[in-house]
């Protein structure tokens, strides 16, 4: 992909707006369409675009396995943890009213944390699945042709 300078440059230009839009969708879900699911997917799209143009090896440097793999579980744990926190504060499971003195603030905080958990898990899982597919492909190419570069960007 070294020669595709148009693709490389436009990818670099597109990535920040995509990620910013994902954050907007994530944190503006209370007011407009969107939420954790959509935001996680859009954030993952930025990484997928990067992988398509620059290859899995460089993508793994941006999103290493030790970040994405625990992140898959971290989102679910954050979500479930909010439920445990509301129970410890004296409410029922996922009763966000307990999180603050004002029920509205509690609901707001609870929804924010829960959506963040959803976003984290969705992002991490999407990136993991895609990179696993691509790395498997690169591995096969390398097995078929030992002289070829494995990461595909060189």
């Amino acid at each position: 992909m070294r020669t595709h300078s148009v693709l490389r440059t436009s990818t670099k230009l597109l990535m920040p707006p995509i990620m910013l839009f994902a954050l907007y969708v994530q944190f503006h879900g209370d007011y407009g369409p969107g939420g954790g699911f959509q935001a996680g997917v859009i954030f993952a799209v930025a990484f997928i675009l990067f992988t398509l143009i620059f290859g899995p090896a460089r993508a793994r440097r941006v999103a290493p396995e030790w970040v994405t793999t625990p992140m898959c579980a971290l989102g679910v744990l954050l979500y479930a943890g909010v439920g445990v926190a509301t129970m410890l504060l004296g409410g029922t499971y996922l009763d966000y009213n307990m999180l603050a003195h004002d029920p509205h603030h509690g609901q707001h905080l609870g929804i924010l944390l829960v959506e963040l958990g959803v976003g984290l898990t969705v992002w991490a899982v999407m990136v993991t699945i895609f990179l696993t597919f691509v790395e498997r492909h690169a591995q096969r190419e390398a097995a078929a042709d030992p002289d070829a570069e494995e990461d595909g960007h060189a």
């Binding site: 209370d30 699911f37 799209v45 793999t69 439920g83 929804i111 696993t132 597919f133």
Partner: protein, 195 residues
């Protein structure tokens, strides 16, 4: 006017679905499935379900298409030709099932009917009480994250499980490193003859 758009979009979806059945080139089929998702997203926008449309466009038209292309890179681009034979039994099953489904729709409330059971069950409560009970102006978020918090936790767990499944099946984590050291291990099913 809205119904005209609905009919046009649904007609496009039928055409795309028929094309997907006929084509043997899997690359084209994957692209058409992305178009199918985008059409249904447009349909959801017409129905004012923007949250669902957003998800359909991002997941159905975006991520699924990319993952399918990734799968194609690992498998084959062409569907292997099947011997042509008359399949009367499957045709009968499909016809009877389709007829039963159409018969079932006759009893259903009309499209957009405000008296339909779905609009009389919990929806009025969400519409009336959610600004006071939960707060966010987007009621979909209130329902998704607060009223139906358990469901969403379950959905997140499903996505987590999918990720773990792919990692285990496609040799993420440790098994990949082991394979790299020992390329002739029984687990490696690359199907390529090694030099």
């Amino acid at each position: 006017m809205e119904q005209v758009i609905d009919i046009v979009l649904l007609a496009f979806m039928v055409v795309v679905a028929l094309a997907m059945i006929h084509l043997r080139n899997l690359f084209a089929v994957v692209m058409l499935s992305g178009i199918f998702s985008l059409l249904s997203a447009a349909l959801f926008v017409v129905m004012d379900a923007v949250d669902v449309a957003f998800t359909e466009a991002a997941v159905g038209a975006g991520i699924s298409t990319v993952l399918m292309l990734g799968t194609l890179a690992l498998t084959a681009r062409e569907e292997s030709p099947r011997p042509r034979r008359h399949a009367l039994l499957p045709l009968a099953v499909v016809t009877v099932t389709g007829a039963a489904l159409i018969y079932g729709t006759l009893d259903m409330p009309h499209f957009g009917d405000p008296d339909a059971p779905i609009h009389q069950h919990v929806a009025p409560r969400y519409i009336v009480d959610s600004p006071r009970e939960v707060g966010p102006p987007n009621m979909v978020t209130s329902v998704l994250a607060s009223y139906r918090g358990y469901d969403t936790l379950g959905e997140t767990t499903v996505i987590f499980t999918a990720g773990m499944g792919v990692m285990v099946l496609l040799g993420g984590l440790r098994s990949r490193r082991r394979k790299r050291r020992d390329p002739a291990s029984p687990g490696s099913d690359t199907g390529e003859t090694r030099p």
